[in-house]
């Protein structure tokens, strides 16, 4: 066949893909290769090697406790889903990021980007949910902003929240502090949030009794810090990109191997079914209400007991441990007893038929 005119350009300049926002490898590349060098003004190479990317920043203490700050945008569609909505999610997501640095969130800022035409009743419902979630978590909304954009310039409603908190004395958690011998604890079942949101999508939809696990985790963090103190090395909530991506980030930033046991990872039956149906890997599915804690072995049992005593931590389990080699990998002992490397989510999570 002879070439006439191909409607597609041969050479394409790269553009942003949805996968750049999925929290996996593409997201990391966007940050490390473009955003961080551009913003920091340095070449970027070597920058990431020394500075792990955390859920929140710790600012130097000025007199009292260290200040922790984190910011996050929420663009979930639909706005309302079983067990939650964009309002409560925007509170939980940000205060959990603050909490992962071993801090108690105290204040929240809220910025709304609203699409022209959004029913006021919808906006009110989201705002009420946001307010209730903040009050329930004991966090004050201290300032905010509202912008309205043309129809089509945003999808109904986007929310950005910034959380502030103070670090608990004696805690010092970082994705770079996992050490060989650490025990890996998981606070509860995985996959609920991601499959819940997916169940509402056009073309992929299904009915189920699954609800999001979106919840504040700072009470759990307080219990972990109290029981484990400085033996608590890493705290992370495996949100976008799922447990696999979070563990890979920790393995990379700490230069260790994380070994997990597939049989020990709690997956609700309906979540497993949704993943089987759509061909998804539950380790890549988003969560909004669980955390992983890396704890020195001698304190692990105490921390586990403390976690189980806190609402939201009843299902806490030990899922693995840290080894020192080969560095930067996550290895899973599979159900049948073999071992395989667990990779982070590549780009966008897509259902498959084969």
């Amino acid at each position: 066949m002879t070439a006439l005119e191909c409607p597609l350009p041969i050479e394409e300049g790269e553009v942003v893909l949805l996968g750049h926002g999925a929290g996996g490898r593409l997201s990391a590349e966007l940050l490390e290769d473009l955003l961080l060098p551009a913003i920091s003004g340095s070449s970027g190479r070597g920058l990431i090697g020394r500075v792990p990317l955390e859920d929140a920043a710790v600012l130097p203490a000025t007199g009292g406790a260290e200040l922790v700050v984190s910011t996050d945008s929420f663009v979930v569609s639909p706005l309302f889903f079983p067990g939650g909505d964009i309002g409560s999610l925007s509170v939980h997501g940000t205060i959990n990021d603050v909490a992962m640095m071993g801090a108690m969130p105290t204040a929240l800022t809220v910025s709304l980007i609203i699409e022209e035409g959004l029913p006021l009743a919808t906006l009110e419902r989201v705002a009420r949910s946001l307010g209730e979630a903040a009050r329930a978590a004991g966090v004050a909304v201290v300032t905010g902003d509202t912008k309205v954009v043309n129809r089509g310039a945003a999808d109904q409603l986007f929310i950005t929240t910034t959380g502030l908190g103070t670090r608990l004395p004696g805690t010092r958690t970082s994705a770079a502090y996992a050490a060989p011998g650490d025990v890996v604890l998981l606070s509860g079942p995985i996959g609920l949030h991601g499959t819940t949101v997916l169940s509402t999508r056009e073309g992929l939809g299904f009915e189920s009794d699954i609800a999001t696990d979106s919840r504040p985790l700072h009470h759990l963090v307080r219990a972990i810090a109290k029981a484990g103190g400085s033996a608590v090395h890493v705290l992370r909530d495996p949100t976008r990109g799922g447990l696999a991506t979070t563990l890979n980030e920790i393995a990379r930033d700490s230069a260790v191997t994380v070994e997990i046991d597939e049989a020990a990872i709690p997956v609700p039956e309906a979540v497993a079914a949704a993943c089987d149906l759509l061909g998804l890997d539950v380790l890549h599915v988003a969560n909004e209400g669980c955390l992983v804690a890396f704890v020195a072995a001698d304190k692990a049992e105490d921390v586990l007991t403390a976690m189980r005593a806190v609402p939201g931590g009843e299902g806490a389990v030990r899922i693995g441990h840290v080894a020192d080699w080969p560095a930067g990998r996550v290895v899973m002992r599979t159900l049948v007893g073999a071992h395989r490397v667990v990779d982070m989510l590549a780009g966008e999570q897509l259902p498959r038929i084969c």
Partner: protein, 93 residues
């Protein structure tokens, strides 16, 4: 290729001339086309691929397969599989 998942028919109906049904997959329910398994009844398990039932699960055969496997004698008690690189101080369970 060909992801196919077994689920239980909980209801059947006709939609635009096609036999359809709601199938429950361990707590997840989806509408499935049953046109190729017309003899499937409510309560039957079918194997579903891209929203279409392609086969009715033969429950007696399913049990027999498992019975055959369970009847294999336990030849070795040791765990199979390559050990991971040593994990100093770690839990290698």
């Amino acid at each position: 290729m060909c992801l196919g998942i077994p689920g239980r028919i909980i209801e059947t109906h006709e939609s635009a001339g096609l036999l359809m049904g709601t199938v429950d997959f361990g707590g997840v329910r989806r509408e499935v086309c049953l046109a190729c398994t017309p003899e499937a009844e409510v309560g039957s398990y079918v194997i579903v691929h891209v929203g279409f039932a392609i086969s009715i699960v033969d429950e007696a055969e399913a049990q027999r397969t498992l019975a055959v496997l369970r009847a294999i004698p336990d030849a070795i008690a040791t765990e199979l599989g390559e050990p991971l690189p040593a994990a100093p101080g770690g839990d290698t369970r």
